[in-house]
Symmetry: D2
Subunit: 185 residues, 4 copies
C-alpha cells in the first residue's frame, strides 16, 4: 500500500496562528503512509458564480489543481463566532465547484479544531462536518479532537506539550488507518 | 416610535442571485417602521488578524462604519454546501472584530434562507443562528423562512409569486414587531 | 411589573445529578422578579401519537397543565452523546402537542448546559436551541452558559464555588431582564 | 463476504408511521449482502443512571443484547421539533451505556429522514449525525436521504412510488457497499 497524499487545510490566515503550528506538528507526527502538505487558502477570491467563466481566478485554478491531486484531507481550524472561519468556508465553496468537478468527493478526511477557551472549537468542528456530508467526504469519527487552551499547547521551540503530542500521535495513527480503508489507490 | 434602520445582508455575490432579488422584494414589503438597506459584503478581504493594524483594509472600515449605524439585521442567504456561503461568514467575522467592537451585539435579527431544491437552505439558516448566539443577536424565531425552489418564486418582472409575497409580507410584519421589542431607540 | 413564573427543566433524571444541583442553586440566585420551580419530566411516557386520544397519559396531562401556567423557561441539562438527553427531548415533544396546543410558544427561555469534561455541553446547548426555533421560544443569547468540569463546581454543602456563583448570578440577572422584555404579562 | 446483520431503528412509535412503512420498504429493497431487522425502541424506559445497577430494566437488556449482535445500523426517522424524536434519542442513550459497553461503536451506519413538509427532516438527520460522531459510527455521506412529503410516498398497497423506490434502491446499494468497506467480519 503506497503513500497517500494528504492536503492539510489551515483555517486561520494569520502567520503565527495556533492552527498552523498545530498543523506543522501534525505533519511531523504523521506515520510514513501519509505524505502531508499544507495547501494555502488565503489568496482565494470570495466565491462568486459570475467569475466561473472560461477563465476563473488564477488562485481558484491553482487551488483546485492541487486539491484534485490529493487523496485525503486534514482540516486544522480555530473557531470564529461558533463556526468555521469565513476563509475556510470559502475554500470549501471554491473547491466544490464548478458543478460536477468538486475536489472533495470520496476523499477520507479528519478534523482538528481548537479555541483559546474551554470549548475546543466544538462549533467549528461540527459545522465543518455538516458541509462534509454534502461533499461526500467520509470523516474519521474517533478520536474527536477538540483542543482547548489552544495557545498553551505549543512550547517556546514550536513543539507540542508532551501530553498533546501523545494524544495527537494516536489521532494520526487512527487517521492513517482511516485513509487506508477509504482512499482510492 | 421612530423608524429603525435595518441592514440587509445578502449571502450570494452573483449579480442576478435569487437572494438579492428576494432581498429587494423584502425591502418593498417592509412596513414603514423599518428602513432597510443592502450592505455589500463582496469586497471584504478575508479576515486575517495580521491585517487588524492601525490601518485595516479600507473595505473592512467601510463595512464596520455602516453596520455600526444600523439598528437591526436581516440576512437573506442561499445555502452553499449545507452552510452559509464563505462570503457571508467572512462578513460576520469581519464585523465581529476588533475585540470589543463588534457591529452585531444586541441588534434584533431575522433570517431568510433558500435553495433551488426542497430543503430551503435549512443548513445555512441554522448554521447562521449558531453564530448569532455568540454575537448576541436576538433572532426572530417564528415564522421560520425556508424558501424551496428558490429560483421559481420570482416572476419575469422581478416581483414575487403572490403566495410568496403574502407569506413574506407576514414575515416582515413579525420582524417589525420583533425590532420594536428589541431594538435600542 | 409582577413576578414571572419560570419552569426549570432538568435534563438528567438521576437523583444526585449535577444538573439538578445547579438548578437548585440557580433558583436560589434568582432575582425577586422570577419565581422558579422545577417541573419534573422523568415520568413522561415516550411520545407516541397513538396515545394522543381523548384520554392521553396522565403524566402528559399533568406536565402540560403545569407548563401552560408558566411564563418562562430555564433549561439545565447535561450532554448525552453530543446532544440533549432523550428524556429532555421527549419532554419537549410531549409539550409541543397536540397540534396547536404547544406549551412552549412565545415564552422567553434560557439554557444552561454542562459536562464533566471540557466542552461544557456545547452540543446539547445548540441542539436544544435548534428545537426552540421551531417552538417559537425566544432565547437569551448572552451570556452563553457552558459549564465544564460540571461535577467540580458544587461544594460539599451543595453550594456553588464562589466564581461559579458570581457568573451564574450575572446570568440570572440577564435572564430576568430578558423575561421582562419578552414575557406576556 | 458473508451477509451482514443490520439493525433498522425506526424513530416514530405510532403503529402506522411513515417511518415504519419506509423502513419496511427499505428492508424489501436491500441487496442480499444485508440482512435487515427492525429493533424496537418503544418500550425502553427513559435513561437514568440510577437504574444502571446489577439488574437494569429488562427492556434495556433486551435492546442491548440484540444490538450487540448487529453489524450495521440503519436509522429511519421523522423530525420532531427540528431534531430526532425523544424516543430515538433515548434509544441512543440507552445503547451507549454502561460506560465502555456501547452497542454502537465502529458499526457502519446510514440515515433516512423525512417530514410531511418540504424540509425532509434535515434537522433530525444532522442532529443524529452529531451523536454518531461521539459514538464512533462511520456514516454513509452520499446519497443523503431527505424525504419530503413523507406521507405521500407510499401507495395504498404499502409500496413506494416508483420514483422513490428507484432512489431508495440506489441508496441501499450505496449503503451495502459502505457496510462491506467498514463492517467487522
Amino acid at each position: 500500500m503506497g503513500t497517500k497524499s494528504i492536503a492539510v487545510i489551515v483555517g486561520s490566515l494569520r502567520k503565527e496562528s495556533c492552527s498552523r503550528k498545530i498543523a506543522e506538528n501534525l505533519i511531523a507526527l504523521a506515520p510514513p503512509s501519509l505524505a502531508l502538505d499544507i495547501v494555502e487558502i488565503g489568496d482565494l477570491p470570495l466565491y462568486n458564480l459570475d467569475l466561473e467563466t472560461d477563465a476563473p481566478p488564477q488562485a481558484w485554478r491553482r487551488f483546485r489543481d492541487r486539491m484534485h491531486a490529493m487523496q485525503g484531507l486534514l482540516f486544522v481550524t480555530p473557531e470564529f463566532n461558533r463556526s468555521v472561519p469565513g476563509a475556510l468556508k470559502n475554500a470549501i465553496d471554491v473547491g466544490s465547484r464548478p458543478y460536477g468537478k468538486s475536489v472533495w468527493g470520496g476523499k477520507p478526511g479528519a478534523i482538528v479544531s481548537g479555541s483559546i477557551g474551554n470549548i475546543g472549537g466544538f462549533g467549528a468542528n461540527h459545522a465543518l462536518r455538516q458541509s462534509m456530508v454534502f461533499l461526500d467526504v467520509p470523516l474519521l469519527q474517533q478520536p474527536e479532537v477538540y483542543l482547548s487552551g489552544f495557545d498553551k499547547l505549543i512550547q517556546a521551540d514550536g513543539t507540542l506539550l508532551p501530553v498533546t503530542a501523545e494524544f495527537l500521535g494516536k489521532f494520526m495513527q487512527a487517521f492513517a488507518a482511516w485513509v487506508d480503508k477509504i482512499a482510492r489507490p
